[in-house]
């Protein structure tokens, strides 16, 4: 299970592993400061944090799924589907009920419920029907993506103007200048970290990811815990959508494209083991911020061809992980 590919000489491990993603983050911040004086401006910081929130919230859930030895490729499409459905229903309700706060509340409830249900479907098929998570969620990824395209008739589903104005503050306003997505992200990150480290659920996730049989023999309800990780992830996708829809007020076939890869990358950059058995939510948060910052930094300067943005992103991601290569046990 754990086959610590012992490198020739033993290095002091623990500290580096803990510190590495943070160091990567700090390096990025320093680069940003050097590149552009506006980098540390309040506006830029809040922009970056707020836009990290969607992937961030999803990645928190992904941390649990991966820690328990699972995977979910469908989250991006799921987000698009949930957003599409939410908008469609809100528009319909606006027509029949005439808009207003209740419509928004119903929309939010619907998003949360749909996310939860989608997560439940993934989870139940993986745990009960016993389908390899990679394949199942690849399948549902295609299904949700198709469904949203179909709902939008190939185009874009847009929230009615009136509703959009009413709903907008959920993304753009907040408390003390800190917008809601940032607050929600922060709260969920803290709750996630506590759940992972200080509750039986978190511990059981790690145990299942480490050795499913051992967990079962220790009377951990393996299937239920695993199912729960997917339900949790689905619900978090719902929450992310609730934050996302007021930002753009629309959903289309391209909404949430590649979010799954970004979320998984953030989780792994944060030090969680891809094969399960160990996960840390705060690492995931750092991972998400690293990924967001790379994009932000590339926009701060233009010393390279935009064609090469992807290449720079790739290099930075790799470097961020090289810093902490000693953690990765199994690969």
């Amino acid at each position: 299970m754990s086959m610590a590919t012992t490198a020739p000489t033993r290095r002091p491990r623990v500290n580096l592993a803990v510190v590495a993603p943070i160091v990567a983050l700090i390096v990025l911040v320093l680069i940003g400061m050097a590149l552009n004086p506006n980098f540390l401006s309040f506006a830029n910081i809040t922009n970056v944090l707020a836009r990290s929130a969607f992937i961030g919230i999803i990645a928190i859930g992904m941390t649990f799924v991966i820690t328990a030895g699972g995977l979910d490729l469908s989250v991006g499409s799921m987000a698009a589907f949930v957003a599409g459905l939410m908008i469609l229903v809100m528009n319909m309700l606006t027509e029949s009920m005439g808009g207003g706060l209740p419509v928004i509340l119903i929309g939010i409830a619907l998003a949360l419920f749909t996310g939860l249900a989608a997560g439940f479907i993934n989870g139940i098929l993986i745990t009960r029907a016993g389908i390899e998570a990679f394949i199942l969620t690849l399948g549902t990824m295609g299904i949700y993506r198709s469904l949203v395209t179909w709902l939008a008739d190939g185009g874009t589903l847009s929230l009615g103007y009136e509703m959009r104005e009413l709903y907008r503050p959920v993304y753009y306003e907040g408390i003390l200048g800190i917008s809601w997505p940032i607050i929600v992200f922060a709260v969920l990150a803290i709750l996630g970290e506590i759940t992972m480290r200080h509750t039986a659920f978190g511990r059981h996730c790690a145990a299942i990811g480490s050795n499913e049989k051992v967990a079962r023999y220790s009377s951990v309800a393996v299937l239920r815990v695993r199912l729960m990780t997917y339900v949790l992830l689905g619900t978090l996708v719902g929450i992310a959508v609730v934050m996302y829809v007021p930002r753009l007020g629309s959903a289309s076939a391209t909404t949430g494209l590649l979010w799954e890869l970004e979320a998984i990358a953030a989780v792994i950059i944060g030090g969680t083991l891809l094969k399960g058995g160990f996960g840390r939510v705060w690492g995931t948060v750092v991972g998400v911020l690293i990924l967001s910052l790379i994009g932000n930094l590339l926009n701060l300067t233009d010393f390279v061809s935009p064609y090469l943005n992807g290449a720079i992103q790739g290099v930075v991601i790799i470097l961020a992980v090289v810093l902490q290569r000693n953690t990765g046990a199994a690969r």
Partner: protein, 290 residues
């Protein structure tokens, strides 16, 4: 003075050409006007485009924005806020969901794109002719083009055998065309909503040895296609323009407005034209990558 430019990433031929023209124009203008600064970003989804716009405003302090919105609806709000903050906004190609936000609008006409091709079909094909339609990636652009095409066919008695997404991709189009060729014993013409897909379709038709049987009309004036029209290739009789160079026009006009202090506002809609063997010469650009 700083001009921000935000366009879709080069994920298919036309967008690639757009990138090419944008970069070339930026290079040319920066040389000519040393005090003009440009920020060029490319995006692959609307969410990221909004992020890029936010960054331009927060960290680069742009004075003018040239933007090709990835999707109209989601970008309307963010662009409106930028416009409200006093930044000059030029919108390219894809109109916003609300009128009156942008200062300058430079665009092709997707409806006309489809309609021009459809008109050609209606004019040249007999009643009862059978055609297949290759659509792009599901999006508003694609919907508009197809709607225009279908509207032009209305009442012509031409039968659309099948319609499916080739995703503006040569390989997908190749496979799709192969399968249609196995499925339909008779096809009189193919309309591809973009030249990349036409390339794939042509290769498949060529392979099946059915070049005599049908013609293919793509769109956007790819070099290769224009050349074939020029050569009088009966399989590729015409093409429809949708010039990626419109981004150059937009950037140039914006820059001119900033530097000369004589803002060029208004609308420039570039309707699609039919490229025929007669006029093909004027649509052939040797050094364009597209």
């Amino acid at each position: 003075e700083t001009i921000g430019i935000s366009i879709p990433a080069a994920t298919h031929g036309w967008a690639g050409a757009l990138n090419f023209h944008a970069e070339r124009t930026v290079a040319r203008l920066s040389e000519a006007n040393p005090d003009l600064e440009f920020v060029l970003t490319t995006t692959s989804d609307p969410g990221q485009q909004v992020s890029d716009l936010e960054d331009m405003v927060a960290t680069r302090g742009i004075d003018a924005l040239v933007v090709l919105p990835f999707e109209s609806e989601p970008l309307t709000g963010p662009i409106q806020r930028i416009a409200d903050s006093g930044v000059w906004v030029t919108v390219v190609d894809r109109g916003l969901a609300q009128e009156g936000i942008e200062n300058l609008y430079v665009a092709g006409d997707n409806d006309s794109f489809g309609r021009t091709a459809g008109q050609y079909f209606a004019d040249t094909l007999d009643e009862g002719a059978k055609v297949v339609v290759m659509r792009g990636i599901a999006s508003t652009v694609d919907n508009e083009r197809v709607a225009g095409f279908e509207a032009a066919l209305e009442g012509s008695g031409i039968e659309v055998l099948a319609m499916d997404h080739g995703n503006w991709n040569r390989d997908t189009a190749f496979n799709l065309m192969q399968d249609w060729l196995s499925r339909f014993p008779e096809i009189d013409a193919v309309w591809a909503a973009d030249d990349d897909m036409a390339v794939g379709a042509l290769a498949a038709i060529d392979q099946a040895g059915r070049t005599e049987e049908m013609f293919v009309v793509g769109g956007a004036g790819m070099k290769e296609m224009v050349q074939r029209i020029q050569d009088g290739d009966p399989t590729v009789p015409v093409n429809v323009t949708y010039p990626p160079a419109m981004i150059s026009t937009a950037i140039e006009m914006t820059a001119l407005g900033l530097t000369s202090g004589a803002p060029m506002s208004g609308e420039f809609i570039i309707a699609s034209e039919l490229i025929t063997p007669e006029n093909a010469e004027s649509f052939y650009f040797e050094d364009s990558p597209y």
